[in-house]
């Protein structure tokens, strides 16, 4: 017998987070990971898997990990470096000597699987590949999985921009939205006493749907967020109607995983690590929302609160 819940209301504590690349500039140095992964611990994986592993390590720093911990990731384009490497070599060599390492590292779920392997996470391992909403779908899956299991989850999204893709962008080819790369990982869930957490916030609401659903997500809400951080095509206000009834800080996505870095920034502002002035607020907020919309008409909303709120 399955249990029906409303995912729109949830209580998913976030204990740590880290970000990489474009959109991570507003975070304190300790929460930023280079897109050029270094260190022997990250050996063995492709570029994005290694960055993801270091982001996950940083996000869960100081927390006791259990074998049941899950890894849920998003990526719009996947491990393009290895995909390009494998396909280019295959074409040049006329399929004579394909490269096994590049193949196994090219699959989209190589990122989450590498993190799980390195951190011995034997719980759920999922990878969403739905463009700029991949992170939102990963967060949705982690929230429901946490509800079932009570386990902790690394949730993140990452995208990169290797040579062929970059050239495609230079030519103005559709399908890649921004000439940057990056992403973020957060660590949350679990069954620990959240009052003992020294820093962090909690996700209290998540919505997934289409852009025409956005006004309904804001209508009738008793406690409005103090600010909506929006990542998506410009002028979303036209779609909101009279909602959301609070200020909107709009910035176009830096890269396909911008929703993840934008969420990391919101968490940092709620924690007081980053200045609220970065998003046009004069004082530290206790309740922020992150809204993602895409040219394809997808939409997602997360509402975050500081632990004290």
């Amino acid at each position: 017998m399955a249990t029906i819940v409303r995912a729109v209301e949830c209580d998913f504590p976030v204990f740590g987070y880290a970000a990489s690349g474009a959109g991570a500039e507003g975070l304190v140095r300790d929460r930023v990971v280079s897109l050029l992964p270094v260190g022997s611990g990250a050996r063995g994986g492709g570029r994005l898997p290694r960055v993801a592993y270091q982001l996950a390590q940083r996000a869960s720093k100081g927390h006791t990990l259990r074998g049941g911990t899950g890894v849920v990731f998003g990526t719009a384009f996947g491990c393009l470096t290895e995909t390009e490497s494998f396909v280019s070599h295959m074409i040049r060599e006329r399929e004579a000597t394909p490269k096994p390492r590049a193949f196994s590292s090219s699959v989209h779920n190589a990122i989450a699987s590498f993190v799980a392997l390195k951190l011995n996470a034997r719980g759920e391992c999922q990878t969403f590949v739905h463009g700029e909403l991949s992170f939102a779908q990963a967060l949705f899956a982690a929230v429901l999985a946490h509800r079932r299991s009570g386990e902790s989850y690394w949730v993140g999204a990452l995208d990169e921009l290797p040579a062929h893709t970059f050239r495609a962008l230079e030519q103005g080819v559709r399908g890649t939205s921004a000439a940057h790369e990056g992403g973020a990982v957060l660590f949350g869930g679990g069954s620990e006493d959240v009052s003992e957490a020294v820093a962090g916030s909690r996700l209290v609401r998540i919505e997934l749907g289409r852009t025409q659903d956005v006004p309904a997500w804001f209508a009738g809400s008793d406690a409005k967020p103090e600010l909506v951080l929006h990542a998506g095509p410009p002028a979303p206000e036209a779609d909101f109607g009279s909602e959301p009834g609070c200020p909107v800080f709009h910035a176009p996505p830096d890269h396909p995983s911008s929703l993840a870095t934008r969420t990391a920034l919101a968490l940092s502002i709620l924690d007081g690590e980053s200045s609220a002035t970065l998003v046009g607020l004069s004082t530290r907020p206790s309740r922020l929302a992150v809204l993602g919309t895409t040219a394809d008409g997808d939409a997602a909303l997360f509402e975050l609160r500081g632990f004290g709120a």
């Binding site: 017998m1 399955a2 029906i4 819940v5 409303r6 995912a7 729109v8 949830c10 209580d11 899950g70 719009a76 996947g78 995909t83 390009e84 494998f86 396909v87 280019s88 295959m90 074409i91 399929e95 004579a96 394909p98 490269k99 096994p100 193949f103 196994s104 090219s106 699959v107 779920n109 190589a110 989450a112 699987s113 590498f114 799980a116 392997l117 951190l119 996470a121 034997r122 719980g123 759920e124 391992c125 999922q126 990878t127 969403f128 590949v129 739905h130 463009g131 991949s134 779908q137 062929h164 050239r167 495609a168 030519q171 080819v173 559709r174 399908g175 749907g209 289409r210 394809d296 997808d298």
Partner: protein, 396 residues
Amino acid sequence: MASVLESAPIVLTGLGVVSAAGRGLDATEATLRAGRSCLGPLTRFPSPRNGHHRVGEVAQEWIADPAEPRTRALARLALADALDDARLEARTRRIALVLGTCTGGMPETEEAIESQLAGRGFPERVWSEHPCGATTHALAEDFGLRGPRFTISTACSSGAQALVIGRDVLLAGLADAVVAGGADALCRLTLNGFASLFATDPKGCRPFDVERDGMSLGEGAAFCVLEREDVALERGARIHVELAGAGNTCDAFHPTAPEPDGRGAEAAMRAALRDAGSTVDAVDYVNAHGTGTPGNDQAEGRALARLFGTRIPPVSSVKAIFGHTLGAAGAIEAIVCSLGLARGFLPGTSGLTRFDPDCEVEPLTETVTASPRFVLSNSFGFGGNNTVLALRRRDA
């Protein structure tokens, strides 16, 4: 903290499938009952591997527009059939779409990179097909699906995982119904990739056989319409089976190889049973992942032996019938299980002639008439991404 609103089973009210066995439920059932392998020579595209590998190709006669990206064309067939089978008018309800896929627009990406290497630049049409989500969006638009869209890629468990996410979407109240499944077309990347890992058997895959030497790739698509039971009954829908539970785990062992003792696979099966509120004694059949690679079959066999002990239910693999359709496999096999439950049979293991005792579990070789009530369907992917579905007959 959210409150639990209610409890209700999730049921499958529409099924659509296309594979090397043909299009539709009847063609699939007939092939399964005959135990006929649909593997043959690769003809889809020129390759040095033509003639050296047996694959499961979908007959070109089903493809209405040869210019359409192949994965999308395959998905379109199965999606149309699933909606038709469910007698569900897409435009009158909020229907979500969940696609599981490994390669998405990879055939087009190969073309784009080849073009770039030849100095002709990137053709826009093909490059825009690379993101897996592009397939999902195109299908949702064409079929008028107004609910949220999801795309998931957990390697060879993607199709099964799509059904799990579809169930979550229903439980979260995000849609009235969900069409969930998987699709993957044959392409040079997977053909050469698995060959580079020495994971393909030139003679065609022979799951659990003592001489097995790898998998055979295939292509196809399958979709299931998922609804809450009360909603389905209210509209008078025909219910095929109940999606009673699911289990997800990760081996956390190796990028491509399964954990040799199948601990992750066992944990996923236990999780699915727990989720379904059931026990090993209730299991009437297990559809094995059964790829035919030495490592997978041995690990899976060990997991089954440990889970079931002395009472091992009938087990079989259908990979030698369809080929390993990667992102579609979990969804195709969910439909195989649904057909077995609803129409009373258990498929045999085509390709198996001499059982490998190291696999510990001896699978069915021939298709048998039976009356299963509760079955498990295993799907295990690269990176140790394990998904197990528990399906129950409606009157059980």
